[in-house]
């Protein structure tokens, strides 16, 4: 039999340009599956020559999906390079905005992207395996999910003053204090947001119990784990030390984010434009790690809010206290983080400093370079700037969340393809949907940010070893 190649381009429901190639061997079985990311990395060059203080407004343009993460990481890098640590109230307000971003992004992912696969089934009719199908199957919860996302967006709007490219965080703090009315408006949505998310956790746990067989064979593999923590290895999303743990849960490193270059390096493969970060001391691929919700929960010993911490304890029992390696548990972890973010909104809003007008440090002690790190919904986001004496950017290094997970996504694609696709002649839509779901679990964002009509048809190609097209499957 001639060796064949199946190509899925682009992968549905992930942001940006990606392609999956499933190469079949001469025996008709999956030999290897690859995730190719055709990411355009022109943004670092685009920033050169701009003023440092402009970066929180420029970098959100990288992506229309998670502009808040880039906005805050850029502001933190600005704090560092200009030597202007923000007053405590400003950090509280930035963290509050960040929680809004986590809630809207995680909430949307579960209910509108992952939910259809999980709640309606990987093999269900693709015409109904979407948010509308979900609405029809569970209208009450889905309507509440829309409200949950609105609440997260409203937090961002209240603080940012605008819905596109929020203008809020600046080096040294923020440019707007929170009013009491605004605080009360946000608090009014708290109970519903929490109830919706706790209901989703119940659904996810029920699904996991009913689909244990799938979970146990769907993209299960060992890696290290990386994310921010605070004291007591408490999960942190806004500011802390970077902790790296091994596949057995042992702490490998804990370091100031400014020193990330001492620990992290990037590998290049000739089949993807996206680099593969790894832990230097263990080399590539031995030092690969996962970030994002699964990485963060595996990397943390506790969470700072009670309901989320109780859920973390249950999560830790999924693999008897060892790191949870199952790709599908990204969804479980994402919901637990959503609970944390919602609870943390209340904690922040009840802080005595949250309405303070002490929101900007105008002192400056500039230095040649600065680093800002934040846990974006998808994982650790690193902004590193170098500037000249005029405070113009000379060089930028960005390691985006999806980049950290590049190896894991590729491994998950390969693993799921080998597990679920028996041979090239009997490929079903449900099998391919599982391959896509392996990527979607990581909620990647590939920095495309263009959405023009006609840009992205779905094409599946089967090619033989001479690259001749054997079979094409398209769908809307």
């Amino acid at each position: 039999m001639v060796a064949q190649k199946i190509t899925i381009e682009p992968v549905t429901r992930i942001e940006g340009h990606a392609k999956v190639t499933i190469r079949m061997n001469a025996g008709g079985k999956v030999d290897h599956a690859y995730l190719h990311v055709n990411e355009f990395r022109g943004f670092e060059k685009f920033c050169e020559g701009r003023m440092v203080f402009e970066m929180p407004l420029i970098t959100p343009r990288i992506c229309g999906i998670c502009p808040v993460s880039h906005h805050l990481a850029a502001a933190k890098a600005g704090d560092d390079i200009l030597g202007a640590p923000p007053p405590r109230p400003a950090n509280l307000l930035r963290e509050l905005m960040h929680m809004g971003q986590i809630v809207q992004s995680h909430g949307m992912h579960f209910f509108e992207l992952a939910g259809p696969d999980l709640l309606l089934g990987f093999d269900s009719d693709p015409a109904l395996r979407n948010v509308v199908g979900l609405l029809q199957a569970n209208p009450d919860l889905t309507v509440k999910a829309v409200q949950l996302r609105k609440w997260g967006q409203e937090i961002i709007r209240i603080l940012g003053g605008r819905r596109i490219h929020p203008n809020f965080a600046v080096p040294g703090g923020v440019n707007k204090a929170l009013t009491q009315d605004e605080r009360d408006t946000i608090l009014a949505g708290y109970d519903d947001a929490l109830a919706t998310t706790m209901a989703a956790i119940g659904i996810m746990q029920g699904w996991a119990e009913a689909n244990m067989e799938d979970i146990k064979k769907f993209g299960v593999f060992s890696t290290g784990y990386l994310g921010l923590v605070k004291g007591g290895n408490t999960l942190e999303l806004y500011d802390g030390d970077i902790r790296l743990t091994s596949s057995t849960g042992k702490e490998l490193e804990k370091f100031d984010p400014r020193n990330y270059l001492d620990y992290i390096s990037e590998h290049v493969e000739n089949w993807s434009y996206l680099k593969f970060p790894y832990y230097k001391k263990l080399g590539y691929p031995g030092g690969v790690y996962r970030v994002g919700p699964l990485g963060r929960l595996n990397n943390s010993d506790r969470m700072a809010t009670p309901l989320a911490d109780a859920e973390l304890k249950k999560f830790k029992q999924l693999n008897d206290g060892k790191p949870v390696e199952n790709t599908l548990h990204y969804h479980t972890a994402r919901l637990i983080e959503t609970v944390y973010a919602i609870e943390n909104v209340k904690v922040l809003l009840q802080d005595a400093d949250i309405l303070s007008n002490d929101i900007l440090n105008t002192c400056r002690d500039p230095k040649p370079s600065g680093v800002g790190v934040i846990e974006a919904p998808r994982g650790t986001l690193i902004h590193h700037y170098w500037m000249n004496q005029n405070q113009q950017i000379e060089r930028v290094n960005l390691i985006v969340s999806t980049g950290h997970n590049n190896w894991a996504m590729s491994e998950a694609v390969d693993s799921v393809a080998k597990t679920y696709i028996p041979d090239a002649e009997h490929v079903t839509e449900g099998m391919l949907n599982r391959v896509e779901a392996a990527i979607r679990a990581h909620d990647p964002c590939l920095s495309c940010s263009t959405h023009a009509v006609g840009q992205m048809p779905i094409i599946l190609e089967v090619r033989d070893s001479t690259d001749q097209l054997v079979k094409t499957i398209t769908r809307d």
């Binding site: 549905t12 996302r149 009509v453």
Partner: protein, 175 residues
């Protein structure tokens, strides 16, 4: 009769943001104030028209569509669509999206229909994009189409829906 004119795209990625420019052309036609701000959110109370611009369509928009009788979505398109300016009537039809966090207009109407059992009369006008780099300026080819696209939408508003033409000045209420 309330009308929503809703543009979407990324103005920082050149022609992907052409809808913002078309939206401005329509607002200028009706004598409404425009600025360089990307965050367009304007209510013309005299004509019962709302102008909005976002980076993308998101599901929560569906929850707000029930107050409108007519909607015009404005987007960019690539060479996969043959016409330079494409107009189509949109009906509720959920389409599996190839992008995370991205909905088509038809999918959005489908969600709106499921949420409120009501779908406004809707058209989508898209303009051919040629360049999608990191810049706010349109390519010359796409820029030359913006006025034409605005005229198509204005004609739809005025001839099919009797919106008061743009030579009057009474309006406006910034929200």
């Amino acid at each position: 009769m309330k009308t929503l004119i809703y543009g979407y795209g990324n103005p920082d990625r050149q022609d992907d943001g052409v809808a913002w420019h078309v939206l401005h052309e329509i607002m200028k036609h009706y004598g409404l104030p425009v600025s360089d701000d990307l965050d367009v959110d304007f209510h013309d109370e005299e004509r019962q028209m709302v102008y909005d611009f976002q980076l993308q369509l998101t599901p929560e928009i569906a929850d707000d569509l029930d107050v409108y009788d007519r909607v015009c979505f404005i987007d960019a398109h690539t060479g996969a669509v043959p016409e330079e300016i494409h107009l189509e009537k949109v009906t509720a039809n959920f389409q599996k999206s190839p992008l995370t966090h991205h909905l088509t207009a038809a999918s959005l109407l489908s969600i709106a229909d499921t949420l409120h059992h009501k779908v406004p009369e809707t058209i989508l006008v898209s303009v051919r994009g040629y360049e999608f780099g990191f810049a706010q300026s349109l390519s010359a080819a796409t820029s030359s189409l913006t006025r034409q696209a605005a005229d198509i939408i204005i004609k739809w508003l005025e001839e099919e829906h009797c919106i008061k033409s743009g030579d009057t000045n009474g309006f406006t209420n910034k929200t």
